[in-house]
Amino acid sequence: MNPLAATGRATLTVSQTVGEIAFFALDGMFRGLRGPWYPRQILRQMIEIGYYSLPVVGLTAIFTGMVLALQSYTGFSRFEAPGAIPTIVVLSMTRELGPVLAGLMVAGRVGAAMAAELGTMRVTEQIDALLTLATDPLRYLVFPRLVAGLLMLPLLVLVADVIGVMGGYLVSVYKLGFGPIEYINRTFDHLEVQDVVSGLVKAAVFGFIVALMGCYMGYHSRGGAQGVGAATTRAVVTASILILTADYMLTEIFFSR
Protein backbone atom coordinates (compact mmCIF):
# COMPACT_ATOMS: atom_id res chain seq x y z
CA MET A 1 0.00 0.00 0.00
CA ASN A 2 1.08 3.53 -0.69
CA PRO A 3 2.95 4.58 2.48
CA LEU A 4 1.37 8.01 2.35
CA ALA A 5 -2.11 6.48 2.30
CA ALA A 6 -1.16 4.19 5.18
CA THR A 7 0.05 7.10 7.27
CA GLY A 8 -3.03 9.08 6.40
CA ARG A 9 -5.32 6.23 7.31
CA ALA A 10 -3.54 5.67 10.61
CA THR A 11 -3.77 9.34 11.49
CA LEU A 12 -7.45 9.47 10.66
CA THR A 13 -8.15 6.34 12.69
CA VAL A 14 -6.31 7.73 15.70
CA SER A 15 -8.14 11.04 15.43
CA GLN A 16 -11.46 9.25 15.16
CA THR A 17 -10.72 7.12 18.22
CA VAL A 18 -9.58 10.12 20.25
CA GLY A 19 -12.81 11.89 19.30
CA GLU A 20 -14.94 8.89 20.22
CA ILE A 21 -13.24 8.53 23.57
CA ALA A 22 -13.66 12.24 24.28
CA PHE A 23 -17.38 12.11 23.47
CA PHE A 24 -17.73 8.99 25.55
CA ALA A 25 -16.15 10.74 28.53
CA LEU A 26 -18.25 13.88 28.15
CA ASP A 27 -21.42 11.87 27.60
CA GLY A 28 -20.74 9.72 30.63
CA MET A 29 -19.99 12.67 32.92
CA PHE A 30 -22.83 14.96 31.78
CA ARG A 31 -25.50 12.31 31.72
CA GLY A 32 -24.26 10.97 35.02
CA LEU A 33 -24.31 14.33 36.72
CA ARG A 34 -27.71 15.25 35.32
CA GLY A 35 -29.70 12.05 35.24
CA PRO A 36 -30.80 9.57 37.90
CA TRP A 37 -27.98 8.64 40.25
CA TYR A 38 -27.05 5.16 41.36
CA PRO A 39 -25.38 5.74 44.74
CA ARG A 40 -24.96 2.02 45.42
CA GLN A 41 -22.99 1.61 42.22
CA ILE A 42 -20.85 4.65 42.97
CA LEU A 43 -20.13 3.39 46.46
CA ARG A 44 -19.32 -0.07 45.20
CA GLN A 45 -16.83 1.28 42.69
CA MET A 46 -15.24 3.56 45.26
CA ILE A 47 -14.67 0.63 47.58
CA GLU A 48 -13.42 -1.50 44.72
CA ILE A 49 -10.88 1.11 43.63
CA GLY A 50 -10.05 2.76 46.92
CA TYR A 51 -10.03 -0.04 49.40
CA TYR A 52 -8.95 -3.04 47.37
CA SER A 53 -6.09 -1.20 45.71
CA LEU A 54 -4.53 -0.28 49.04
CA PRO A 55 -2.30 -3.36 49.32
CA VAL A 56 -0.86 -2.97 45.85
CA VAL A 57 -0.33 0.76 46.23
CA GLY A 58 1.07 0.36 49.72
CA LEU A 59 3.63 -2.21 48.61
CA THR A 60 4.63 -0.10 45.64
CA ALA A 61 5.02 2.94 47.84
CA ILE A 62 7.11 1.37 50.53
CA PHE A 63 9.58 -0.21 48.14
CA THR A 64 9.80 2.96 46.11
CA GLY A 65 10.54 4.99 49.23
CA MET A 66 13.17 2.51 50.34
CA VAL A 67 14.87 2.45 46.96
CA LEU A 68 14.82 6.22 46.71
CA ALA A 69 16.65 6.54 50.01
CA LEU A 70 19.21 3.94 49.04
CA GLN A 71 19.82 5.34 45.57
CA SER A 72 20.12 8.92 46.73
CA TYR A 73 22.51 7.91 49.44
CA THR A 74 24.86 6.04 47.14
CA GLY A 75 24.48 8.61 44.39
CA PHE A 76 24.61 11.74 46.51
CA SER A 77 27.51 10.68 48.66
CA ARG A 78 29.49 11.59 45.59
CA PHE A 79 28.44 15.19 46.25
CA GLU A 80 28.80 14.97 50.01
CA ALA A 81 25.10 15.77 50.39
CA PRO A 82 23.51 12.86 52.26
CA GLY A 83 21.49 15.35 54.27
CA ALA A 84 19.35 15.89 51.22
CA ILE A 85 17.95 12.36 51.30
CA PRO A 86 14.72 13.03 53.25
CA THR A 87 13.91 15.94 50.96
CA ILE A 88 14.58 13.89 47.86
CA VAL A 89 12.38 11.08 49.08
CA VAL A 90 9.43 13.26 49.99
CA LEU A 91 9.54 15.46 46.90
CA SER A 92 9.95 12.54 44.53
CA MET A 93 7.08 10.68 46.15
CA THR A 94 4.62 13.54 46.41
CA ARG A 95 5.31 15.15 43.06
CA GLU A 96 6.02 12.22 40.78
CA LEU A 97 6.39 8.68 41.95
CA GLY A 98 3.39 8.55 44.21
CA PRO A 99 0.89 9.56 41.53
CA VAL A 100 2.60 7.91 38.58
CA LEU A 101 3.38 4.56 40.13
CA ALA A 102 0.06 4.36 41.93
CA GLY A 103 -1.61 5.33 38.67
CA LEU A 104 0.18 2.61 36.72
CA MET A 105 -0.50 -0.03 39.35
CA VAL A 106 -4.15 0.91 39.50
CA ALA A 107 -4.31 0.99 35.69
CA GLY A 108 -3.20 -2.61 35.67
CA ARG A 109 -5.49 -3.68 38.43
CA VAL A 110 -8.61 -1.58 38.12
CA GLY A 111 -8.44 -0.64 34.46
CA ALA A 112 -8.15 -4.26 33.44
CA ALA A 113 -11.00 -5.29 35.74
CA MET A 114 -13.30 -2.59 34.39
CA ALA A 115 -12.55 -3.49 30.79
CA ALA A 116 -13.08 -7.17 31.50
CA GLU A 117 -16.31 -6.62 33.40
CA LEU A 118 -17.88 -4.25 30.90
CA GLY A 119 -16.54 -6.29 28.01
CA THR A 120 -18.09 -9.47 29.31
CA MET A 121 -21.35 -7.65 29.91
CA ARG A 122 -21.25 -6.37 26.35
CA VAL A 123 -20.69 -9.77 24.73
CA THR A 124 -23.29 -11.52 26.89
CA GLU A 125 -25.89 -8.88 25.97
CA GLN A 126 -26.16 -7.59 29.54
CA ILE A 127 -25.69 -4.02 28.31
CA ASP A 128 -28.56 -4.48 25.86
CA ALA A 129 -30.57 -5.95 28.73
CA LEU A 130 -29.95 -2.80 30.78
CA LEU A 131 -31.41 -0.71 27.98
CA THR A 132 -34.54 -2.86 27.84
CA LEU A 133 -34.92 -2.37 31.60
CA ALA A 134 -35.11 1.43 31.48
CA THR A 135 -31.51 1.88 32.64
CA ASP A 136 -28.87 3.90 30.84
CA PRO A 137 -25.58 1.94 30.87
CA LEU A 138 -23.61 5.19 30.85
CA ARG A 139 -25.31 6.35 34.04
CA TYR A 140 -25.38 2.96 35.73
CA LEU A 141 -22.01 1.52 34.76
CA VAL A 142 -19.70 4.21 33.41
CA PHE A 143 -20.37 7.31 35.49
CA PRO A 144 -19.88 5.53 38.85
CA ARG A 145 -16.54 4.22 37.64
CA LEU A 146 -15.37 7.58 36.35
CA VAL A 147 -16.31 9.29 39.60
CA ALA A 148 -14.71 6.58 41.70
CA GLY A 149 -11.46 6.81 39.74
CA LEU A 150 -11.43 10.60 40.01
CA LEU A 151 -11.98 10.61 43.76
CA MET A 152 -10.21 7.53 44.98
CA LEU A 153 -6.81 7.77 43.34
CA PRO A 154 -5.91 11.02 45.17
CA LEU A 155 -6.72 9.28 48.45
CA LEU A 156 -4.60 6.32 47.45
CA VAL A 157 -1.74 8.64 46.51
CA LEU A 158 -1.98 10.38 49.86
CA VAL A 159 -1.55 7.03 51.53
CA ALA A 160 1.26 6.19 49.13
CA ASP A 161 3.05 9.44 49.99
CA VAL A 162 2.99 8.66 53.69
CA ILE A 163 4.07 5.07 53.21
CA GLY A 164 6.79 6.11 50.79
CA VAL A 165 8.23 8.56 53.27
CA MET A 166 8.10 5.80 55.83
CA GLY A 167 10.04 3.53 53.50
CA GLY A 168 12.68 6.18 53.13
CA TYR A 169 12.69 6.57 56.91
CA LEU A 170 13.25 2.87 57.51
CA VAL A 171 16.21 2.65 55.18
CA SER A 172 17.74 5.94 56.28
CA VAL A 173 17.42 5.35 60.00
CA TYR A 174 18.17 1.64 60.19
CA LYS A 175 20.62 1.26 57.37
CA LEU A 176 22.21 4.60 56.71
CA GLY A 177 22.56 5.92 60.19
CA PHE A 178 20.18 8.86 60.11
CA GLY A 179 18.69 10.12 63.32
CA PRO A 180 14.94 9.49 63.39
CA ILE A 181 13.85 12.97 64.50
CA GLU A 182 16.30 14.56 62.16
CA TYR A 183 14.86 12.57 59.28
CA ILE A 184 11.28 13.60 60.00
CA ASN A 185 12.22 17.25 60.42
CA ARG A 186 14.21 17.33 57.23
CA THR A 187 11.28 15.77 55.40
CA PHE A 188 9.10 18.78 56.15
CA ASP A 189 11.82 21.43 55.86
CA HIS A 190 11.52 21.98 52.16
CA LEU A 191 8.11 20.46 51.52
CA GLU A 192 5.60 22.90 50.11
CA VAL A 193 1.82 22.61 49.75
CA GLN A 194 2.24 22.81 46.01
CA ASP A 195 4.25 19.60 45.96
CA VAL A 196 1.51 17.59 47.59
CA VAL A 197 -1.33 19.30 45.76
CA SER A 198 0.24 18.85 42.34
CA GLY A 199 0.56 15.16 43.11
CA LEU A 200 -3.08 14.92 44.12
CA VAL A 201 -4.26 16.75 41.02
CA LYS A 202 -2.22 14.37 38.91
CA ALA A 203 -3.76 11.49 40.80
CA ALA A 204 -7.28 12.70 40.03
CA VAL A 205 -6.46 13.03 36.34
CA PHE A 206 -4.78 9.62 36.25
CA GLY A 207 -7.67 8.01 38.09
CA PHE A 208 -10.07 9.44 35.55
CA ILE A 209 -7.91 8.21 32.68
CA VAL A 210 -7.72 4.68 34.08
CA ALA A 211 -11.48 4.47 34.57
CA LEU A 212 -12.18 6.04 31.19
CA MET A 213 -9.97 3.67 29.24
CA GLY A 214 -11.25 0.66 31.17
CA CYS A 215 -14.86 1.64 30.53
CA TYR A 216 -14.42 2.68 26.92
CA MET A 217 -12.50 -0.42 25.83
CA GLY A 218 -14.83 -2.75 27.71
CA TYR A 219 -18.01 -1.04 26.53
CA HIS A 220 -16.93 -1.29 22.90
CA SER A 221 -15.65 -4.89 22.94
CA ARG A 222 -16.76 -7.14 20.17
CA GLY A 223 -16.57 -10.78 19.40
CA GLY A 224 -16.52 -13.01 22.45
CA ALA A 225 -13.74 -13.96 24.80
CA GLN A 226 -10.95 -12.94 22.51
CA GLY A 227 -12.49 -9.52 22.04
CA VAL A 228 -12.75 -9.03 25.78
CA GLY A 229 -9.15 -10.09 26.24
CA ALA A 230 -7.99 -7.64 23.59
CA ALA A 231 -10.05 -4.89 25.18
CA THR A 232 -8.50 -5.55 28.57
CA THR A 233 -4.97 -5.33 27.21
CA ARG A 234 -5.76 -2.18 25.29
CA ALA A 235 -7.29 -0.55 28.32
CA VAL A 236 -4.15 -1.09 30.40
CA VAL A 237 -1.71 -0.10 27.68
CA THR A 238 -3.50 3.06 26.58
CA ALA A 239 -4.15 4.11 30.15
CA SER A 240 -0.46 3.68 30.99
CA ILE A 241 0.70 5.68 27.99
CA LEU A 242 -1.82 8.43 28.66
CA ILE A 243 -0.75 8.60 32.30
CA LEU A 244 2.86 9.17 31.32
CA THR A 245 1.88 11.78 28.74
CA ALA A 246 -0.43 13.60 31.12
CA ASP A 247 2.26 13.43 33.76
CA TYR A 248 4.57 15.51 31.65
CA MET A 249 1.90 18.03 30.72
CA LEU A 250 0.73 18.48 34.29
CA THR A 251 4.28 18.85 35.54
CA GLU A 252 4.78 21.59 32.97
CA ILE A 253 1.62 23.35 34.13
CA PHE A 254 2.55 23.22 37.78
CA PHE A 255 6.24 23.77 37.82
CA SER A 256 7.59 25.57 34.82
CA ARG A 257 8.25 29.22 35.38
Partner: protein, 226 residues
Protein backbone atom coordinates in the same frame (compact mmCIF):
# COMPACT_ATOMS: atom_id res chain seq x y z
CA UNK B 1 -45.93 -13.86 16.23
CA UNK B 2 -43.01 -16.24 15.82
CA UNK B 3 -40.31 -15.41 13.31
CA UNK B 4 -38.40 -18.39 11.97
CA UNK B 5 -35.38 -18.63 9.78
CA UNK B 6 -31.95 -20.17 9.53
CA UNK B 7 -28.89 -18.96 11.39
CA UNK B 8 -27.61 -15.65 10.17
CA UNK B 9 -30.77 -14.60 8.37
CA UNK B 10 -31.27 -11.58 10.61
CA UNK B 11 -33.71 -12.71 13.30
CA UNK B 12 -31.85 -11.23 16.28
CA UNK B 13 -31.12 -8.13 14.25
CA UNK B 14 -34.86 -7.71 13.71
CA UNK B 15 -35.60 -7.59 17.42
CA UNK B 16 -32.65 -5.33 18.16
CA UNK B 17 -33.63 -2.87 15.47
CA UNK B 18 -37.18 -2.64 16.76
CA UNK B 19 -35.83 -1.83 20.20
CA UNK B 20 -33.34 0.64 18.81
CA UNK B 21 -30.44 -1.44 20.17
CA UNK B 22 -29.01 -1.56 16.68
CA UNK B 23 -29.27 1.31 14.20
CA UNK B 24 -31.33 0.51 11.11
CA UNK B 25 -29.73 1.20 7.74
CA UNK B 26 -32.92 2.55 6.26
CA UNK B 27 -36.67 2.37 6.45
CA UNK B 28 -39.12 2.90 9.25
CA UNK B 29 -40.03 1.09 12.45
CA UNK B 30 -43.01 2.26 14.43
CA UNK B 31 -44.17 1.19 17.87
CA UNK B 32 -47.74 2.26 18.62
CA UNK B 33 -47.35 4.82 15.87
CA UNK B 34 -44.10 6.23 17.24
CA UNK B 35 -41.04 6.19 15.00
CA UNK B 36 -38.02 4.32 16.34
CA UNK B 37 -35.50 4.81 13.54
CA UNK B 38 -33.49 7.94 14.23
CA UNK B 39 -35.40 8.66 17.42
CA UNK B 40 -33.69 10.57 20.22
CA UNK B 41 -32.50 8.76 23.32
CA UNK B 42 -35.26 10.16 25.51
CA UNK B 43 -37.94 8.96 23.10
CA UNK B 44 -36.30 5.54 22.81
CA UNK B 45 -36.15 5.22 26.59
CA UNK B 46 -39.85 5.96 26.78
CA UNK B 47 -40.75 3.48 24.03
CA UNK B 48 -38.63 0.77 25.64
CA UNK B 49 -40.66 1.05 28.84
CA UNK B 50 -43.39 -0.89 27.05
CA UNK B 51 -41.14 -3.86 26.38
CA UNK B 52 -39.84 -6.86 28.21
CA UNK B 53 -37.19 -9.05 26.58
CA UNK B 54 -35.81 -12.51 27.21
CA UNK B 55 -32.34 -12.71 25.71
CA UNK B 56 -30.83 -15.80 24.21
CA UNK B 57 -28.35 -16.41 27.01
CA UNK B 58 -30.71 -14.86 29.56
CA UNK B 59 -28.21 -11.97 29.94
CA UNK B 60 -28.62 -11.89 33.70
CA UNK B 61 -26.49 -9.40 35.61
CA UNK B 62 -23.68 -11.49 37.11
CA UNK B 63 -22.92 -9.14 39.94
CA UNK B 64 -26.47 -9.08 41.30
CA UNK B 65 -28.37 -11.86 43.09
CA UNK B 66 -31.41 -13.42 41.43
CA UNK B 67 -33.99 -11.34 43.27
CA UNK B 68 -32.30 -8.11 42.29
CA UNK B 69 -32.12 -9.28 38.69
CA UNK B 70 -35.83 -10.05 38.62
CA UNK B 71 -36.78 -6.81 40.36
CA UNK B 72 -34.33 -4.75 38.31
CA UNK B 73 -36.94 -3.16 36.07
CA UNK B 74 -39.13 -2.30 39.03
CA UNK B 75 -36.25 -0.79 40.98
CA UNK B 76 -35.08 1.10 37.89
CA UNK B 77 -38.48 2.73 37.51
CA UNK B 78 -38.26 3.70 41.18
CA UNK B 79 -41.64 2.20 41.77
CA UNK B 80 -40.75 0.25 44.89
CA UNK B 81 -38.41 0.13 47.85
CA UNK B 82 -35.90 -2.69 48.06
CA UNK B 83 -37.82 -4.81 50.55
CA UNK B 84 -41.02 -4.58 48.52
CA UNK B 85 -39.11 -5.36 45.35
CA UNK B 86 -37.74 -8.53 46.89
CA UNK B 87 -41.24 -9.64 47.81
CA UNK B 88 -42.46 -8.96 44.30
CA UNK B 89 -39.50 -10.88 42.87
CA UNK B 90 -40.48 -13.87 44.96
CA UNK B 91 -44.01 -13.74 43.56
CA UNK B 92 -42.83 -13.47 39.96
CA UNK B 93 -40.33 -16.29 40.40
CA UNK B 94 -43.18 -18.48 41.65
CA UNK B 95 -44.91 -17.88 38.32
CA UNK B 96 -41.96 -19.43 36.53
CA UNK B 97 -41.76 -22.30 38.94
CA UNK B 98 -38.83 -21.17 41.05
CA UNK B 99 -38.88 -20.91 44.82
CA UNK B 100 -37.42 -18.76 47.56
CA UNK B 101 -34.22 -20.78 47.65
CA UNK B 102 -32.95 -19.05 44.49
CA UNK B 103 -33.57 -15.50 45.68
CA UNK B 104 -30.07 -14.90 46.96
CA UNK B 105 -28.14 -17.06 44.53
CA UNK B 106 -26.01 -15.50 41.84
CA UNK B 107 -26.63 -16.25 38.14
CA UNK B 108 -23.40 -18.20 37.83
CA UNK B 109 -24.74 -20.68 40.39
CA UNK B 110 -27.82 -21.53 38.31
CA UNK B 111 -28.31 -24.11 35.59
CA UNK B 112 -29.12 -23.02 32.04
CA UNK B 113 -32.79 -23.76 32.41
CA UNK B 114 -33.02 -21.87 35.67
CA UNK B 115 -31.21 -18.91 34.17
CA UNK B 116 -33.72 -18.77 31.34
CA UNK B 117 -36.59 -18.89 33.79
CA UNK B 118 -35.06 -16.10 35.86
CA UNK B 119 -34.59 -14.16 32.63
CA UNK B 120 -38.24 -14.69 31.81
CA UNK B 121 -39.24 -13.60 35.30
CA UNK B 122 -37.19 -10.44 34.85
CA UNK B 123 -38.88 -9.73 31.53
CA UNK B 124 -42.42 -10.12 32.86
CA UNK B 125 -41.88 -8.51 36.28
CA UNK B 126 -42.72 -5.04 34.98
CA UNK B 127 -45.89 -6.36 33.28
CA UNK B 128 -44.91 -5.05 29.84
CA UNK B 129 -47.28 -4.62 26.92
CA UNK B 130 -44.85 -6.16 24.46
CA UNK B 131 -42.64 -9.19 25.02
CA UNK B 132 -39.71 -10.31 22.90
CA UNK B 133 -38.16 -13.76 23.12
CA UNK B 134 -34.78 -14.38 21.48
CA UNK B 135 -34.51 -18.12 20.83
CA UNK B 136 -36.04 -19.04 24.19
CA UNK B 137 -35.53 -22.79 23.89
CA UNK B 138 -32.10 -22.92 22.27
CA UNK B 139 -29.62 -24.97 24.23
CA UNK B 140 -32.16 -26.57 26.53
CA UNK B 141 -33.01 -30.23 26.91
CA UNK B 142 -36.39 -31.28 25.42
CA UNK B 143 -38.20 -31.30 28.75
CA UNK B 144 -36.88 -27.91 29.85
CA UNK B 145 -37.64 -26.57 26.39
CA UNK B 146 -41.27 -27.57 26.76
CA UNK B 147 -41.35 -26.03 30.23
CA UNK B 148 -40.16 -22.76 28.72
CA UNK B 149 -42.68 -22.99 25.90
CA UNK B 150 -45.43 -23.50 28.44
CA UNK B 151 -44.24 -20.57 30.57
CA UNK B 152 -43.98 -18.33 27.55
CA UNK B 153 -47.53 -19.15 26.50
CA UNK B 154 -48.90 -18.64 29.98
CA UNK B 155 -47.08 -15.37 30.57
CA UNK B 156 -48.20 -13.91 27.26
CA UNK B 157 -51.77 -14.96 27.90
CA UNK B 158 -51.81 -13.65 31.46
CA UNK B 159 -50.31 -10.30 30.52
CA UNK B 160 -52.36 -10.03 27.36
CA UNK B 161 -49.13 -8.91 25.77
CA UNK B 162 -48.10 -8.62 22.16
CA UNK B 163 -45.31 -11.16 21.79
CA UNK B 164 -42.66 -11.73 19.15
CA UNK B 165 -40.47 -14.76 19.41
CA UNK B 166 -37.60 -15.72 17.16
CA UNK B 167 -36.50 -19.31 16.94
CA UNK B 168 -35.50 -22.17 14.76
CA UNK B 169 -36.99 -24.76 17.08
CA UNK B 170 -40.09 -26.02 15.25
CA UNK B 171 -41.49 -27.78 18.32
CA UNK B 172 -41.45 -24.43 20.06
CA UNK B 173 -43.11 -22.76 17.09
CA UNK B 174 -45.97 -25.23 17.06
CA UNK B 175 -46.52 -24.80 20.74
CA UNK B 176 -46.42 -21.05 21.17
CA UNK B 177 -47.25 -19.49 17.81
CA UNK B 178 -50.46 -17.86 16.67
CA UNK B 179 -48.88 -16.42 13.54
CA UNK B 180 -45.57 -17.29 11.87
CA UNK B 181 -43.29 -15.38 9.54
CA UNK B 182 -40.21 -16.74 7.84
CA UNK B 183 -37.06 -14.72 7.28
CA UNK B 184 -34.72 -15.72 4.51
CA UNK B 185 -31.71 -13.71 3.45
CA UNK B 186 -32.94 -10.64 5.31
CA UNK B 187 -36.42 -10.62 3.77
CA UNK B 188 -39.73 -11.93 5.08
CA UNK B 189 -40.72 -14.45 2.45
CA UNK B 190 -43.87 -15.83 4.03
CA UNK B 191 -46.35 -14.94 6.71
CA UNK B 192 -49.43 -16.76 7.89
CA UNK B 193 -51.19 -18.40 10.78
CA UNK B 194 -49.82 -21.48 12.53
CA UNK B 195 -52.53 -23.59 10.90
CA UNK B 196 -51.45 -22.48 7.44
CA UNK B 197 -47.78 -23.29 7.90
CA UNK B 198 -48.05 -26.90 6.74
CA UNK B 199 -49.83 -25.84 3.54
CA UNK B 200 -47.85 -22.73 2.79
CA UNK B 201 -47.14 -23.62 -0.79
CA UNK B 202 -43.73 -22.02 -0.28
CA UNK B 203 -40.84 -24.44 -0.90
CA UNK B 204 -38.47 -22.49 1.37
CA UNK B 205 -40.92 -22.73 4.23
CA UNK B 206 -41.50 -26.43 3.55
CA UNK B 207 -37.80 -27.17 3.54
CA UNK B 208 -37.30 -25.30 6.80
CA UNK B 209 -40.19 -26.67 8.80
CA UNK B 210 -39.42 -30.24 7.80
CA UNK B 211 -35.72 -29.83 8.37
CA UNK B 212 -34.39 -31.05 5.03
CA UNK B 213 -30.81 -30.39 3.96
CA UNK B 214 -31.92 -30.39 0.32
CA UNK B 215 -34.16 -27.78 -1.16
CA UNK B 216 -34.19 -24.18 -2.39
CA UNK B 217 -32.27 -23.05 0.70
CA UNK B 218 -28.72 -23.90 -0.19
CA UNK B 219 -26.34 -24.44 2.67
CA UNK B 220 -24.03 -27.13 1.28
CA UNK B 221 -22.77 -26.50 -2.22
CA UNK B 222 -23.25 -30.10 -3.14
CA UNK B 223 -23.89 -33.16 -1.03
CA UNK B 224 -21.32 -35.92 -1.70
CA UNK B 225 -22.72 -38.67 -3.92
CA UNK B 226 -22.06 -41.63 -1.66
Amino acid sequence: MVVIGGSGTGKSVLLKCILGLMPADSGSIQVDGEEVVGARTAALDRIRLKFGMLFQGAALFDSLPVWENVAFGLLARRQLGRAEARERALAVLARVGLGAEVLDLYPAELSGGMQKRVGLARAIATEPEILFFDEPTTGLDPIMADVINELVRRSVRKLGATAVSITHDMASVRKIADRVAMLYDGVIIWEGSIEEIDHSGNPYVDQFIHGRAEGPIRVLQMLPAD
